[in-house]
């Protein structure tokens, strides 16, 4: 049997705020345990939540960014369950009336095609604390620093068909939210966590199979592996005549498998009801319009502009618009040197190459965009060759100064003066009398090869600084 995989993703996105969604505690990552957990976060009796305006603004930004219907009236609900990292015994979330309704956004697939993936809804809620199950004399340790961190839960339609598409969707979502500036998108710190809903059905069938939900998959790579594993598991069960149980499973990255969570925890019955401690959030058209006007250029728009305005290939445009800092860097270089194609090439090959080797990111790049533009300017005005430029770039990376400073200090200026070049050409011809003889006896095709040889020798002798065009002219003139 040929199976089709149907996947929907729920992403929990930590919103970039200074303080928590319902309290004035800080949200800084990595603080000592419980130093950022105060009375509201600890659910002390009588504490009341007060909503953070930035969290609302970020949610609206997301809604506008995916062209969704932003609900002018949305309501918080209590989601009831008991777990020690949720001291209130309920999570404040949104159930009946989420702040962001239906929308969609464009996902660039692996093969370069694009597809719109539907977003069912996105709602505001608070994060829980962390439970540490290492041995504390047979007890669990609870850190409530994360409790109350604002989250936007983004629920996709079951539009995704395989692991590669799921990863493409997550990458596009990551790009979108970091462009919007509503989250730092730091996966390693848990800023973007993913639950995968997955079911199988015979190819061609339109009815949905029974799904399993895989909880808390925290990297793009693990999403891919968890889906592969779960597909195989469900296909095996179905092919041997079994039935899929609707359940919650955990992905274990160490063993590369998913396993069922205990049935007790799976008995999800959250008994949602409206949160009496919070009033409905009401926003008006003017607010939505103001947010809409404040949106930056989004990834898809930027990519399209890069290819139409700068004449870049689709691939180059998508690499360079991958993150906002990279896109801004490229644009500064392109504007600074006036040649977008060479700028694109340098940023993609030399700069990204160096960043990869140094295992760092564009934000920490030691060479500024202005300095890189300065270097490219010197290639364009023939002061240096492309080859020498790489050497200069290396020195710039080491912090030796601007391109002009390095070229002057190391005497790397391209030699175009025919008098000086003539001396070198004469030296080369004198030292290679055999090749000169061969050249004179050779036919047109073979002559070209030998000219190449002489040019190479001149470049070598001039340490790459000779202007190859003038060397060529001189050689042709002399070899008669």
């Amino acid at each position: 049997m040929q199976w089709e995989c149907v996947i929907g993703l729920e992403v929990h996105l930590q919103l970039a705020t200074q303080s928590k969604i319902f309290s004035g505690s800080p949200t800084t990552f990595g603080a000592a345990p419980n130093t950022q957990a105060n009375a509201v976060d600890l659910a002390m009796p009588g504490m009341l939540p007060v909503l953070n305006e930035q969290a609302v603004c970020h949610a609206v930004k997301f809604g506008v960014g995916i062209g969704a219907n932003v609900n002018k009236r949305s309501v918080f609900d209590r989601k009831n369950y008991f777990y020690p990292d949720l001291p209130k015994g309920y999570q404040i979330s949104q159930f009946e009336a989420p702040i962001v309704g239906r929308g969609s956004f464009e996902v660039l697939m692996e093969d370069g095609s694009t597809r719109d993936i539907g977003i069912t809804r996105a709602h505001l809620e608070e994060d829980a604390g962390k439970s540490l199950h290492e041995d504390f004399q047979g007890q669990s340790g609870i850190d409530l620093n994360r409790a109350g961190t604002p989250l936007l839960e983004i629920v996709s339609d079951p539009d995704i068909r395989n692991a590669a598409e799921a990863v493409a969707y997550l990458k596009a979502l990551h790009r979108l939210v970091t462009y919007l500036g509503i989250s730092d998108g730091n996966m390693a710190e848990g800023s973007m966590r993913c639950d995968v809903n997955i079911s199988l059905r015979p190819k061609g069938s339109l009815t949905l199979g029974t799904r399993a939900e895989i909880k808390n998959v925290n990297s793009f790579r693990f999403v891919e592996k968890a889906i592969h594993h779960e597909f195989e598991r469900q296909a095996d069960i179905l092919e041997s005549g079994g039935k899929i149980v609707q359940e919650t499973r955990l992905y274990d990255s160490d063993r590369d498998e998913t396993r069922s969570m205990r049935s007790k925890e799976v008995a999800n019955d959250y008994r949602y009801f409206p949160e009496p401690d919070l009033l409905p959030i009401v926003i008006d058209d003017a607010y939505i319009e103001a947010v809409s006007n404040s949106l930056p250029e989004l990834p898809g728009e930027k990519r399209d502009r890069f290819s139409t305005h700068y004449g870049l290939s689709k691939y180059d445009a998508s690499v360079l618009s991958d993150s906002r800092p990279l896109a801004d860097y490229f644009e500064s270089v392109a504007t600074g040197c006036g040649d977008a194609k060479i700028a694109a090439n340098w940023v993609q090959v030399e700069l990204l190459g160096q960043l990869n080797r140094a295992e760092t990111v564009i934000e920490n790049c030691p060479v500024s965009a202005i300095d890189l533009a300065g270097l490219i300017t010197r290639i364009l005005d023939n002061s240096i060759s492309g080859k020498i430029a790489k050497q200069v770039f290396e020195a710039m990376w080491q912090g030796e100064g601007s391109a002009d400073e390095i070229i002057a200090a190391k005497g790397l200026q391209q030699v175009s003066d025919s008098g000086a070049l003539e001396t070198i050409v004469d030296d080369v011809l004198g030292a290679n009398a055999d090749q000169v003889k061969q050249y004179l006896e050779a036919d047109e095709a073979k002559r070209k090869k030998l000219v190449g040889f002489f040019v190479g020798q001149v470049m070598k002798l001039s340490k790459g600084q000779a202007n190859p065009k003038i060397v060529n002219e001189l050689l042709v003139k002399k070899l008669v």
């Binding site: 705020t17 200074q18 303080s19 309290s23 004035g24 505690s25 800080p26 000592a32 345990p33 419980n34 130093t35 950022q36 957990a37 105060n38 009375a39 600890l42 007060v50 909503l51 953070n52 305006e53 930035q54 969290a55 609302v56 309501v75 009831n80 008991f82 777990y83 020690p84 009336a97 439970s131 540490l132 199950h133 504390f136 004399q137 047979g138 007890q139 669990s140 340790g141 609870i142 850190d143 409530l144 205990r262 008995a267 019955d269 008994r271 409206p274 009496p276 919070l278 009033l279 409905p280 959030i281 009401v282």
Partner: protein, 95 residues
Amino acid sequence: MKIEQNEIEKIAELARIRISDSEIGQVTSRITEILQMVDALQAVDTRDIEPMSNPLDETQHLRPDKVTENNRRDAFQAIAPSVENGLYLVPKVIE
């Protein structure tokens, strides 16, 4: 509407409330009485009425995104039953 005893048991478990065997019959009949009152309310025609999520005719006040709380961990942990290395300790939640 009548509620069955096994439903009461399930709700009690979800709410982490222990109801003894001797109490459960009484609890079931009392909750059934409350549900009968709900039935009476359900009979009212509410077709054109928007659900009310809060009785106050107000909307949510928003606070600026500013850190206003200091670290008072020592004070909070002084009244906790058990702490270690800054963590609150609770009975083990995973087997």
